[in-house]
């Protein structure tokens, strides 16, 4: 039955979100690296992934959540306010960078919390 502890849909979804924060960090690193490259278009995690994950979490289907693969895509909603066609805005990226790191902290703590509860259940002491 120990298997069920690791296939719980919330636990699987948290792990998936950890992957997403790493991927988004990669996108932000790329965006900030190219903040002054003409015609560079900002990247982000593809919006279709978010919709799929939301659906899978609502259905509480662990195997479906685990099979989802987040991907990077060009952010078409970003508008260029600059003459060089670049769609990166430094301030927005910095905010997203910090937001993403906080999200990552939250998710690592959720995973750690699940493991700590499991340990408590096994040993009877924290």
């Amino acid at each position: 039955m120990i298997d069920a502890l690791f296939t719980d849909s919330d636990y699987v979804a948290t792990k998936k979100m950890l992957d997403v924060t790493l991927l988004r960090h990669q996108a932000i690193a790329s965006n900030l690296a190219n903040v002054e490259t003409p015609n560079y278009k900002r990247l982000d995690v593809s919006p279709s992934f978010e919709a799929q994950l939301r659906q899978a979490v609502a259905g509480r289907d662990s195997s479906e959540i685990a099979s989802l693969q987040p991907a990077l895509a060009v952010d078409n909603n970003a508008i260029s306010g600059r003459a060089d066609g670049n769609t990166v805005q430094l301030e927005t990226e910095m905010l997203k960078l910090n937001q993403n790191t906080v999200e990552n902290t939250l998710e690592t703590q959720l995973v750690s919390g699940s493991l700590a509860r499991l340990r408590l259940a096994i040993t009877g002491k924290g």
Partner: protein, 144 residues
Amino acid sequence: MINLLTGIDSTSSALDAERIRMDVIAENIANANVTKDVDGKPYQRQEVVFESMLRAQQDSDAPDAGSQTVQIARVQRDARPPRMVYNPGHPDANAQGMVAMPNINIHEEMVDMIASSRSYEANLAVVKNARAMAMQALSIGRHS
């Protein structure tokens, strides 16, 4: 090879590129009054041209739109004409007493320098955050 610090490729390429840009700006400011460059003409302002490069995908399950690194495509000369200054006593003055000075505007260089150091800082913040995330990942499941 595993990559503990996500996005480090993009960030390191950007730090390298900004460093080179800073070197070019330093060269421009240092040569702002050079009337005789190696070719005998006044020094010409140089500027860097950035271009992005799709990071080579090593793993097969990599996402389609890969993250990009940045590199300096070339360092090109600014074709604007030299600044003409009236200074008949100067050894490089022409018959009318005008001296061709480099086409450098110190204010422009200073603004470029600030922009460059701001992007440098932004990229350092990315590494700092990547490091924080890596440390958190390493502490998953640790006894608190």
